[in-house]
Point group: C2
Chain length 374, copies 2
């Protein structure tokens, strides 16, 4: 269902914003990190576990759900919330990113993108209208416009052509949007080109979306500088009363830098992907639980953490599970890593309240990036 | 820690027994099905989830834990309960079954069994003393004697030689047993040979163990007839005041037939293994959730089930998870399948109380084996 973003406070020394919205009678605060549930499941976890780590919005993936199980089945189930048993807010991406990153070869025309399914090679076409139609049926709370995601290496000429097409696609998608209970966000593209970001932001805002996202920062080859520029070049043209979403970003420093530049929500597969490979965030840096030194380490992954994994299990046990490929290992680290990023956002919100976000960043960077890096 | 078995009631028309024991101030009832946590984790599940389905004793595996993470690490962690965060009763098997089923080639001598690790090919030797030493360190509540598990195809001559050696091994293991907080169970072998089962049972009972198990019924090639005979040939020689454990059995009909013949506890990987492959027990028979007919089936796996999976998810959603290889699918079906067998045991106990176990069996077999079989 739709909800309204309330800007509660601006931080004194940065562009950071504290915001909130009410959904199903519950108040959610931004800046917020959103765990990714690609196939209508945040990998290995239940909705109850997501709530226990204080998750808010979660993501699901239009491209993946279109292929499996198919949007009609989700619609028949009563929409994504009922299908996956999650009563918190759900955002679906447009499928654009997956079409450009997973499916090859592809053919981009004004109409849309033709490509082969990464599952079985079937020839498929995704258009702005089709993406919206699928998302309407999935019945997420927030749908995303269908956009092209060119690589960082794209020339100015290509990027300009692409940005203009993405604006035309955004308009077509908005016209095709039929679900009145669903918000629709526009996407700002333009790579690291200042004037293209401006053009993209201004033209997208003219279409009057329910929120705006900044894309093209986590495709392939973008540097951190590119990412920060992309935000800085876009934010000035976005309205203050709408949510700003940085897509596909979850590295702790990027969350902090994004907030500092005015971003409200983020999503990334990083916490769950790292977990499956045995990596865990800690305030003292990222550890690799498979390291031999944790064999007899009977302390929690992170002493300072309040998650289920840290309250009940030791590094030695989780290391054993991960090295033996036991699912519970990935579960425990997924809980921990998601909780870590959500707690980081909680700490960021406290710092915004007290106008000390830059000090917070300095201390965090010193402890985390100056610490363990396994 | 040790506990005492109390025989509460014998069923009027069969050899079935209702029993109980107190562990950590909690009363547990037998007959009982024990989920298997090979590597100190019941695959995909947490201890809390095991409690939620009313699990009692769970199993862990000596051979596997010896190899990974090693018994010394578990000991240093404070034993299996602390290591895996399970405060219910834990039974460890002897490693014998795995040595005979997983590790090839092997060389059996009076001293023990020499074999190659299934993980890295290292040459290893397991002896009765070594098995007990490992289990002492794992600090399970119930340790098992180290036994030979000959295949069903073994000749009478081989089986006789093997049974006698297993009895000598049982004696050596008992002498090596040093953990005063740990019970030690003896194992009756002898294949489908009546006089060898008698010999094995009588000689094992003479050694005065804390409980007795019947082995060699789930090795390789045993028929259901062989299994039932093995129980019938062994039970008359086992004391009434000790627990009787049928090893490696979890097919619903075998649980019922085992109870009818006087068995108190059972273990099997079946519910979790079936779950990972998308199979689910229901009162109307076993279903294969991957079947296309469940694509749009928005009802629970089993309407009659009270488990977390059946209360919150549909067949369509679980089918989607299983077909997309999403871990949550195996988790949900593991919860359901374990709950199914534990609930079957609850129903069996009620039937024993009311002396209607044979009627219960007849109805169950009609519904389950006369039902779906996917």
């Amino acid at each position: 269902m739709k909800f309204k973003y309330n800007l509660e406070k601006k931080e004194a020394h940065t562009k950071a914003r504290l915001g909130s919205f009410i959904y199903n009678d519950k108040k959610y605060m931004t800046p917020m990190f959103m765990p990714v549930g690609t196939l209508a499941t945040v990998k290995t976890l239940t909705p109850e576990e997501l709530k226990e780590v204080n998750s808010g919005i979660i993501l699901a993936n239009t491209y993946h759900l279109w292929l499996r199980p198919g949007e009609d089945i989700v619609k028949e189930a009563g929409g994504l919330h009922k299908f996956m048993n999650y009563d918190g807010p759900i955002l679906t991406d447009s499928g654009g990113f997956q079409v450009f990153s997973l499916a090859n070869p592809r053919d981009i025309t004004e109409e849309g993108v033709t490509f082969k399914s990464h599952l079985n090679g079937d020839k498929l076409m995704l258009t702005p209208e089709k993406s919206i139609e699928i998302q309407n049926k999935l019945d997420s709370d927030i749908a995303m416009s269908f956009d092209e995601c060119p690589p960082a290496s794209a020339t100015y000429e290509y990027m300009e052509k692409s940005v203009k097409r993405t604006i035309r696609w955004a308009k077509r998608g908005k016209e095709a949007h039929k679900n009145e209970q669903q918000m629709l966000f526009g996407i700002v593209q333009g790579g690291a080109y200042k004037d293209l970001r401006k053009l993209s932001a201004e033209e997208t805002v003219k279409l009057d979306f329910d929120g705006y996202s900044i894309g093209g920062v986590a495709n392939d080859g973008e540097s951190k500088e590119d990412m920060y520029h992309a935000i800085e070049y876009s934010i000035p043209y976005l309205p203050e009363d709408k949510i700003r979403y940085l897509m596909g970003v979850g590295e702790p420093i990027d969350l902090i830098e994004g907030v500092i530049r005015g971003i409200d929500i983020f999503d990334c597969v990083l916490p769950t992907r790292l977990a499956r490979h045995g990596h865990a965030f800690t305030l003292k840096g990222k550890i690799n639980i498979k390291n031999a030194k944790y064999k007899k380490d009977f302390t929690p992954v992170d002493d300072a953490c309040d998650c289920y994994a840290c309250k009940n299990y030791t590094k030695a046990y989780i290391r054993h599970l991960i090295t033996a490929n036991e699912t519970l290992g990935a579960r425990l680290l997924s809980i921990h890593n998601i909780r870590f990023l959500i707690r980081l956002m909680e700490d960021i919100r406290e710092a915004i309240k007290e106008d000390r976000l830059l000090e917070f960043k300095e201390q965090f960077v010193k402890d985390y990036y100056g610490g363990i890096n396994e």
